[in-house]
Structures are given as C-alpha cells and as structure tokens.
Symmetry: D2
Subunit: 357 residues, 4 copies
C-alpha cells in the first residue's frame, strides 16, 4: 500500500481550537502498525479534553485526538506478523507500559506510567496521536481483526463495547437471571442494556429523560424503559422486584439525583457500576450503601482485552451497533461533527468522522 | 447450671430511655443456646439505635440491645451438640434466615428477610434481644468457643474483629507488601491496622486527629501515624509511596474531608473500604475515582463466618485486643458506660458492661 | 388440599431392591413444605446409590430415593409464608445445616455436617427421603415457584440445570467469546452446551461417541459435534482455535482418554470443569497441566442457589429442556424406568417417573 | 561500569553437556538492562531441561541456562530510567509478549507466544539466555531492586518465593486461621510453609520422608512435621482437624501416593495447589474430589508480579531464606554444583553458582 509522506489530520492548536492540517505521516515502530483510518467516532471525552487538556496530553500544535476508530492495515513494524497489509481492523486506545505492577497484573488502562511514552505507555487520542487523521500508529496489542460483515463505522465503536464489557467483568459478571438497571441512555448506557441481555439478565430497565433515546433502548432490547419525567424509577424497580431492588445498577449518567436513585433501588449486597466520569462531586449516601452492603465499581477504558470479546459479539450479531450510528462527516467537517454530537442534533447518538472519504 | 426464671436486663423503654429491669429469662429453641453474659461491649450503633430505632428493631419496652458479647453456655437447645454447658463462648450478631438468595450464597449479614423472625432471621441486639442482660439466646451458628487464655472482655470484641476481617475479605485480601492507610483510629480502625499487619502489609499508616488514639495505633503496630492537625495525609502517603498512592484505604471515619483525602491518596486500581455508616451524605469525587479505576467496598457486620477466623487471631495473640479495652461497668451502671463511651472519658475506646458481676 | 395418611413410595429394601410400597405420609416441620410429586427424574446417582449406598444414606427399608422432582405445594409448615397450597414448584436436593463454615459461606452442597439431620442437614433422595413417592417434605429453602408455562417434567430437571450453572459459576464465568468444549453428551453435558451458548461463547464443541446423542447436541445448539470414532477431538479443537486450545473444557464423561484429551485441548491458563464423579481413578498428566497453568474445578450438586437462576432460563425459554425428556413411567413401573435409563433404551436421555398419575 | 566484550558462561552444547566457555557479552535493547550476575541458584528444571530440552529452548551451542539469579545493574537500555548502574537487583524469569490475551490479562507466565522472541516473549534460562554467565540481559519488567540487607544469594531465590506467592494468589489467598498442609519439603515446599505462616494460617503441617529436611521445616516455622515413614499423614491431619481436613493442601512432591493422601486430607470445598510438574501421569481419584467439591490449581513460574511482593517479605525478614542456602560454587565448578543439588550431597537444598567470584 502506498503511503503518502503527508496526511490530513485534525490538530489541537489551542483550547477548543481543532484544525484540519497537513502533517507528516507517522511511521510504525518495531511492534507497531500503521492504520489507514476509515472511521473515527466522536466521544464525550474528546469534547472534554479539547476544552481542558487531560493528564499526559501532548502540547497544543502537536496533538491529534480521536480514540475510537477503525481502518485498514497500511504498514507493519518489523516484529509484527499477526497482521497483513490490507487487513480490516479496529482498535482499543490503551497500550500500557508493560512494566508497572498494574500492567503486569493485566490492568493496563490503569497504567502507573500513564502518559510516559519513554517507558512505553500509549493511549492513542489521549497521550499519543489518535484517529482524527488519515493515518495513525498503533501498538500491535491494541489492534483487532474485523470480519468483512462488520462495517468500519460499527468497528469504530469497538472500544465503547469493550469498555462496557470491562465494566461487567469488573463487577464479577455472571448475570443469568439478575435484574439490571441502566441509568442514562447514552452510547455506553445503551450498550450496557445490550450486554445485560447477552448475559441473560431476566429484567433490564433503562432510565432516562428523553423518549427518543429510550425508544432506541427499546429497539435494542430494554425490557422496560422509565422516563423520570413521568415515573419514579425507584418505585418502579422496587415494585417489579417485589421490594428487593436490582442486582446491578449501572450509572451512565451524572448528578446527585441519579446517584441517589441508584443507591435506593439496589438490592442488599447488590452492586453499582459507574460508566461515567462525573465532572462535579456527587452527594453520596454511603450510610445506606453500608447498611445494605452495596459496593461501587468504576472502570476507565476498555481494559483486560475486552475488545477481543467485543469483536465476537459484533461479528456474531449478538450486539447490534447500528441503531447507535446516527451521523457521519468528512474529516474537513469535524467541527460540525462535534457540534452535532454535543447538541444531539437530529437525535445524534454516535457521530462518526471519516478521514479518508 | 441453674437458670433463674427472671433476670436483669437493660430494656429500651423509649427514645434514649434504657432502664435496667427484671424480665423473664428467655429459653433457647431447638437450634439455639442460652448464654450467661459475662461481658458486653458498647458499640456506636448502640448509641445510634437507642436514639433513633433502626429497621426491624422491636418495640419500646420489649427490646434489649447489645450485640458484642461473650459468656458461658448455660443451656442447650435439643438439637445442639456442638457445645456443652459451661463452655466459654463469644458470638456474632447476625443469624440469617437461611432461605433468601443472599443467605444461600453466604451473605447472611445482608439477609433479604432482615428483621423477619418468622422466617428465621435474628440479629441479636438489633432485631432480637441482645447482651445487655444476664442471659441471652443465640442461634448455634453465631456462637464460637473461646480458649481459656482469652478473657471475656477480649472475647466480647470478637464481632469487631470479625467485621474488620470481613472487610478485608470483601476487598479480596491478599495484602502481602501492599500499602494500607487507615483513616480513623476508633476501635474498627485500630483493628484494621492490626489485620493489615497480620496480612503482611509493608506500610501501614493510621490517620486521625487525637494523639492519644494515634499513640494506641503505634502501640498496636501502625508503621506511621498522621495527625491531620499537623500534616496533610495525602502528601505524606504520596511521598512515602513515590507518588503512587496506597493500595487500600480504609475509611473508619466520616465526613467530606476524610473521603476526599481517601480518594486522592489511593493508587490507580486501588480500593476503598468503608467501615463506617456515615450519618450524612458525603461529597464524593467519582470523576477522579473513575479516572483512577478506584472501587469502593462496604460491609455490614461480621459476615461470612469471619468471626471463626477472628477467634484464631485472638487465641494465637496475632491480634492484641487489650489496648482497646479501657473501661468496664456493672449492668446497673450501663448509662455511665454509655456516657463514658460517647464522651470518650478517660481516653475511652471500648467500654464494657458486665451483667453478671 | 386433602392429604392421605398413607402414600405410595419406592422404598430401598436392600441392594438394588427398590419396591413400591405404602408408607406414612410425612409431615412438614416449621420451615418445611409438603409437596405432591408430579414428576421425578432418574439420575445416574440413583443407579449408583441403590447399588452401593452413599455416605449418610438411611437404612434399607427406610429410604425413598429420588432428588430431581417437581410438584404442587400440598401443605405448609407454620413458619412458611412464601408459598401457598397449590403452587407449582420445583426443588433442589441440598439444604445445608446452616451452622458449619461451608454453609455459612454459601457452600451448602459441601456442608460439613452432611447427613447429620439433627444438626439440620437434608439432602433429599440422598440422606433424607426423596421424590419417588406421592408426597415429599422439603425445607422451604430448596423450593422454587415455577410458571405455568413450564411443564412438571421440565421442572423436574431444574437441579440438573442448577448443577451445570453452579459449575459455570465455580469456574468464574464470564464466557463472552470464549471457546468451550463439552466432552460427554449426557444430560449434564447437553445442558452445559446450552449454558455456554447462553453466556455468549463463540465456539461450542460437543464431543461424544454416539451420533444420536450428538444430534441432540446439534439441536440444542452445539456449533460443532465431534464423534471420537471418526475424528480426533484434540486435533479438531486445536485447528479451530489456531493452535491455542479451548478456554474451558467441561468433562461430563469418565475415563483416562477423555481426561487426556481434555488436558491436551485446553489453552494455557484455561480451565477444566468436572461434572461427573468418575468411579475409578484416572491417569492425569499434571505435568502438562502445570506447565500450561491449567486448573481443575469440581462441583457437587446445584450450589449457591443456582436453581433460582435456572428457573429464569427455563421460564424465558433461553434453555430448552424438552429434547432431553424422552420417556416417562408411572411410579409402579419405576424399575422399568430405571432399566430404560441405564440401557438407554429408545435413545433415552432423561426418564421421568410420575408418582401421582 | 566497564563491560568486557567477552564473558564466561555455561553453554549447553548437547544433552547433559554443559560447558563453561567464552562468549560475546550481550547488549541490552531499548527496554532492557544488562546485569552482572552475582548468584544464580540451581533449580530442578535446570536439571530437567539440560537432559531433555523444553519447549522453545534455543539450540545446543547457543543456550545459557539459569533463571534464578541476582546481581548488579551493569548497563541500561535507552528507555530505562527506573534503575541506575550499580543497583543491586534480583529478577524473575518471564517477560511475556505483552500482545496475547493471556499477557494482556496479566498472566504473562502463560504467554500464548511462549518462546516467540520476535513477538517479544522472553523466559530467561528457558527460551533466552540465563544467569549461568557473568552477564545477562533482562527486560526491565523482570528486574527488582533489592536492599543492601539482602545478600545476593538470598536475592537469587526471589523467583522461588515469587512462584510460591503466585500459588497462594491463584488459590484466592486469604488464609487467616486456615489449616495448610505442605507435602514435600523441597525449596518450594519450605517456602510454602513460610508463606502460610505469613498469612496467619493457624496450623501448618509439613509432610516428607527425610528428617533432615523436615527439621529445616521446623526451623522455618512448620507447626507440625510428619514423616510418612513413621506416621500416616491423612490420619494425623484428620485427627488434628476434628475430622474436617485441611483447607489447603500444597503438593510440592510427585507420585500417586502423595496425591492420594492430598485428596483424602482435604476438607470439603478445600483446595489443592500443585507446585511441581510431575514427570509421569498420576492416578487421581476425581470421584472423591468431585463429591467433596475439591478443586486443583497449578502455577507455572512467578506470575502476576508476585516477585514484587516477595521482595517485601525478604527485605522485612518475614520470610527467612537463609536456611535454604546450603552450598555455593564458582561458575567453573557448575557441574559439581549440579551434582551436589541432584544428589542432595551434604543435605543440599539450594545450591548457588557465583559467576563473578
């Protein structure tokens, strides 16, 4: 595959100043590959980190964001023989240092050398360049083959699904017959509904504020949707579980009210899983949590190779990503893509940028 | 052993109205034993529940509190052959219904039939009568033989130690070489220091506000004590761990500040264990917890038969309970015992009532 | 419901001497129920224990076997309010003592007081009377409501499914995308195929010797069946997994060859689950298991309330029990039922006795 | 530090043909270090692999064995800043590929690319050159700083202790009050005794055939030693545990008899941990294991960064390695070292080679 020495990329030039420019095409190191990007999905963390740089983020003028992408293998590092040029692939964002005790124990998304590229850490789109570009370099351990039956747009959501699966693994998943409540019908919340059903949850509730999103939830399999403008979710869940509460409540929403409801609808010995990073502190009733033996789990990213599991769910159709993909734009229109995502224009859920249209 | 038909007991007659009276001595059911109480320790939950009844608590005039006690087997139910009259024993508070899925899975302190005596649940001192009495009935599954080398006063702290051990089990304990921080040098916090050392933690920090308590912490083995009036515990812990933070932070204290410090001193992928039931909601920075993959665990009571483990630690001297036992009173002086505990008179840590002096 | 004082039951009078006789109808204790048995399935352990009594089994002339059954609630003990007379129910066999540390930690099928009825242990059909009778007594903690949509014959297989689920829980189930091999297409093996698919295994192999059974495996969802008379299962599995091997191999068959094949087809860090109790010792290559970090798990019975999960899978149709139910007989014909099962007459898989036809 | 271009090393020239020769001193890659070896301990796997090459082993004439060593940092790769030249260090053998799902999940000693150096796997002394040499190259993720208080000989046993700790982690360690039996008083068995005591096991039995070794076991803390020539270990353990059996039985010995005894002395729901790789298949009574819900765990090597935990135990004196170190030899005398180890001359336990005397 011929690779141009220059490529188009969206470079962060300053606060909220993302510009499409020509830059040098990177070259893969020995254990890396070069990927020609076909689809890169907008994530709420993209919005956050262009407004206020995150820990470990490269300087303005040097940083290309974007961490949810898919494409075609364009070149191989000298020690890579798992792939061939032309392979269709999706990625995960985090490649740990491989040296710290978190990485050594498999928790590479919590790498203790986060942002330290000398020691080998990469988090594409966070601490190293990402996918809002025609080409991107990935460590081979973050790359997954995708079958032809999966579109590049779907493949760009692999990290989303990997993140949700990591959440289920983190809470110790074996969900058969459990009651699961998902609060917040954003992309992660909707995928959590799908995964709960994959693992044979008996009852899956989806709680939100917008009927349009809740209707998508119904489409992808929520057994019951609750619009908090019309119903008290705690009452509904307690009634439907004979007063016991849910085995697992997944918070993909922020705010004091959502958290309080989550605590109050969780069964004794039940679990809370947090899939969002609330911007503000939240008032938490730890007294009730303690008396009811409720524990709270968090996840950052798509850890423990759950993206490999995600490939299977997408390839076999057990998880349907299509209803989440609402819009796409060329790289030159990335700002419009961001606006569409932020303002949820036209019912936007996932908005995708295609750098090589 | 001769058992009187009437006995002295502290009965809760109304809000904060505990009175020593003569009542009928209870009789053990088929799988129960009658214990002659030698020592019953005052717990902060006693203070809380006489001021504001807890869920499942019997009516005023009928309820004898006290859940941390030890004594001598006085009579056996017809199906009990594990003990003999005269055996020295300690107890745990919770006997689950044995029917609900929490009990069936070993989580009897989170029994879904909590307070439902018809279905077999007992939590002595909470939902059934407790140890501020000359005699008390216990289900045989809550009774533990104690060797002669352990005094009754020490034995009365078995549930405290069982609760702390349950906390360590809940976070998935295998602590060898870990850094553990305990915030709050109350009885549970001090025992947490001892258990962290038993499990071979390398560094154990104890954080508090009173030098007298912190000095007890030093005596029982804290490697480093931090008085927050003089030092910033986050700075100290981060400095002593080369900026990584602690593997496990145990909160045995309430308040926003303690919680915030706990979050900020926890390592990526580290854990928080809550040993208290905060009376008020706490402002929690879940955003930082999420970005650092920190999970939060709670425990209620001394679950999963950890009291059996506690017996071993006390009997072998690996945990030293003596420094915690500061005061004792006759049953007639129970109000003074409570006052001593609440006001921490004379450096009170654990205050013990002896109903059969 | 009118309950006769005498009932028909199959009583074990001596070695392999099971006779249908009239006996007194048992009465439920305070936490027990009386069930009118509608269906009781023959299990290979029935065949084993009538030929050679198992640990804790009652004397000849006093013991009614049968542990896989369903029926209708006929009477309630005084402390039972979870059910009503007339409810359709299925059961599990084991009710632990509730006193030993195994029971206290949720492992009641491994009760340390196994067979000790004084201390409260019951294993119906093993150490207390079972379901080859018109009526049977169960502790309320072993009884599960079944919806009308589930037939009594299907309901009698609840413990089978509960046992398989307990196996998956024991290996730490979160199977999404894993490769699972089941060796032995008996009832438990076939159910294991179904559960592997429920948990989203990507590839499920079923290995056996009889095409008729393997065809049932295909019907209930095995992705690939391997008849060892025609193919080497190790070669097939290794080829289909790019030389890695299976993540989980489930042994529902006995013999040295099956075990050796299992070890050789398991991935490094993979797991073996044993669902059978081999009558003879097996030659095991622990050297290879060690070098490949393979662990071996066993289960006895349907532990940790997995029957509750099983109810959900059957009620929602996620697991289909119908293909396993091949024959049924009246209680008077129980010997013919046993023969049919043992000799696999007419392709017998599960053979059911109906005591109240 | 000046580094010679040639160094002395023991090269495997053919079956059982180990010769000390001059070879080129290796150079560290970007994430590697060069270590000047001070002590390299003889392991039974050394004896095994020179007699019959293991999977992934380099060709005769090119391979330097030895995987248990310590020394001084002599040179740093360009991306290494965790160490300085002159640092005292110990090592672990396995550096995984970092790409396969086992490595990504923290199980690098079970790397699916074992022996594939192109993909980044290294197992020094197994698939890449080891420590029977004056210098050796290690990936930085296998190197641990050792305090001055620990001798190089002790430091060379770090992987032994790391392996034992990994075994305890694998069985889900939280041993407080448990009964542990160790069968086989070799180096790993003796260390298992020490670790069981570190984790507060109440009773620790050591079973063997030679009083000399059993006496070392007593010295390092076994509560009771059992010489099978004089006592039946099953009877002793059952008697000392009131008929329950041990919670954990650790097999550091081979043979049918040891395994059978292990199964028979394990408590219902107890665990077996295998620390050896038996050369021959073993007759295993899986029927009894199944009926007693006993599971069997294996470990290969010192996984999940347990060597980091081992450093702490050695540095703090909680584990005493000194009684295990019985002999040492210069590199030129390596054949004598091997003989001493194999024949247990002079009560040899660990025999150490010092390549830079």
């Amino acid at each position: 595959m011929e690779i141009p020495s220059l490529m188009k990329a969206a470079v962060l030039m300053g606060l909220n100043d993302l510009r499409v420019r020509e830059v040098s095409t990177a070259k893969p190191g020995p254990a890396e590959v070069l990927i020609k990007v076909k689809a890169c999905a907008v994530c709420s963390s993209d919005i956050s980190l262009i407004a206020k740089p995150w820990f470990g983020q490269p300087s303005f003028g040097e940083f290309i964001p974007g961490h949810e992408y898919s494409g075609i293998i364009a070149a191989l590092g000298e020690n890579v023989d798992e792939f061939e040029v032309g392979d269709r692939v999706a990625v995960e964002a985090h490649s740990g240092c491989g040296r710290c005790i978190n990485c050594r124990r498999g928790n590479y998304t919590a790498c203790l050398n986060y942002g330290n590229t000398k020691r080998g850490h990469r988090a594409n789109g966070f601490t190293t360049n990402g996918g809002y570009a025609q080409y991107v370099v990935n460590h081979v351990n973050t790359v997954y083959s995708m079958p032809n039956s999966v579109t590049f747009k779907e493949a760009s959501l692999l990290t989303n699904l990997g993140c949700v699966l990591y959440g289920f693994e983190t809470v110790g998943s074996y969900i058969v017959s459990d009651t699961v409540v998902v609060i917040g019908p954003g992309p992660l919340g909707l995928l959590a509904v799908e995964v709960a059903k994959v693992l044979a949850a008996e009852k899956v509730f989806l709680v939100g504020t917008r009927d349009s999103r809740l209707n998508v939830g119904k489409e992808i399999g929520a057994g019951q949707v609750i619009n908090i403008h019309r119903e008290d979710p705690v009452k509904v869940v307690m009634a439907e579980t004979q007063g016991r509460g849910a085995d697992l409540v997944i918070l993909a929403a922020e705010g004091d009210e959502a958290f309080e409801a989550a605590v109050r609808m969780t069964r004794r010995m039940g679990k809370l899983l947090l899939l969002s990073f609330p911007k503000e502190p939240i008032l938490a009733d730890f007294g009730t949590m303690g008396k009811n033996s409720i524990s709270l789990y968090t996840v950052r990213g798509e850890g423990r190779a759950n993206c490999a599991r995600a490939v299977s769910l997408v390839a076999t159709g057990k998880v349907n990503l299509k209803p989440l993909i609402t819009h796409s734009f060329a790289l030159d229109d990335i700002l419009e893509a961001f606006q569409t995502f932020v303002e949820r224009r036209g019912g936007a859920i996932k908005v995708i940028v295609e750098p090589n249209l």
